[in-house]
Symmetry: C2
Subunit: 173 residues, 2 copies
DNA sequence: TCCTGATTAGTCATTATTGACTATTCAGAA
DNA sequence: TTCTGAATAGTCAATAATGACTAATCAGGA
């Protein structure tokens, strides 16, 4: 239901068509979700069937018509409910990167150290990118919170990875 | 491919049947992955088709026969490759919990604070559970690393959430 | 003994997700 | 003006994932 929350939240600000929503999400919100285009259209269609949004065919010049989505008052109520649910819950994070760690004793620790140092370089690079001055879309309210969250998370990852590398170096796993 | 890595890694230790693999993953590795039963069987079947594992029908008493999976030498090579890939990469974490934060200005900050305090209590509880003495399955090598990772991550989450709550309290979003 | 609920083991029909494709428009170069 | 590559807008067939189901066995109590 978090994808629904996201789409409704964006539609509250302004009416948008599917492609526009997808573009925004994949440009400005890539760090918190990952909705592919057909998935976005699928969710929009279902929300239209549920009456949370309305589809309005719009003709722009002589381009083929496109469907503009508008949140309904029922959709607004659902948004308010989903938002409250989201804020008061916590979903355990699953790190797919961890799976390899479970089997780290299957390779020589010198090699493991080299591989993890490579991972660390990637992490550091992402951290640096995140600390670069950011776009307009990211400078308002909630977005800043989310960016700060990513920053904190990446810092914790780097600290942890350094710790793992140190322990491997001391053969103290 | 990380699910494949996980299943192959477990089969390296001993031959297992599908249900056994699924049970182990959902009991002892729930904090790093989330493979449903039919998904596990599906992956095992595909790995059998690829020659990474062999299926052997086994009769236990007069129970219906079941398929025991055994890693092949080709499977071992794939495991070694996947493990190295996994260790040297980093996958950006996506926090679905963040989506609500993006729209936090849609509700009064007093209410948001209450909701986030509830979230914090859940987080704290998970942190406490994680710090309780853990099972045998979790006390060996790689597993300890992963638990430590979760612990660090949860600590960072709590710190961040406290920061958000403080900022909201000061109306400084 | 018989019954009940839990455990073991797996399947299958339905949903969800996505890679790959179509088709139009537009901006600029040749 | 004609061509080319990028941007816009969306669809669809194929794959992946899962909820709900089946079915046997077992442990223990009535």
């Amino acid at each position: 239901m978090n994808r629904e929350l996201l789409l409704l939240g964006l539609l509250r600000h302004k009416d948008m068509h599917g492609y526009e929503l997808h573009e925004f999400i994949n440009r400005d919100m890539a760090f918190c979700t990952d909705i592919k285009k057909p998935t976005a259209y699928n969710i929009l269609q279902k929300m239209a069937e549920s009456g949370w949004v309305t589809e309005i065919e719009e003709q722009d010049g002589n381009r083929p018509p496109r469907k503009v989505y508008q949140i309904t008052s029922e959709g607004e109520q659902v948004f308010q409910k989903l938002l409250r649910e989201n804020l008061q819950q916590h979903h355990q994070a699953r790190f797919t990167d961890d799976i390899g760690l479970a089997f780290i004793d299957a390779i020589p620790s010198e090699e493991a150290i080299l591989l993890l140092k490579k991972r660390r370089a990637i992490l550091q690079h992402e951290f640096d990118v995140l600390n670069r001055p950011h776009s307009k879309a990211h400078s308002r309210g909630g977005m800043k919170l989310i960016l700060e969250h990513q920053r904190r998370h990446l810092q914790a990852e780097i600290d942890w990875l350094d710790d793992v590398i140190t322990r491997l170096t001391k053969e103290d796993i």
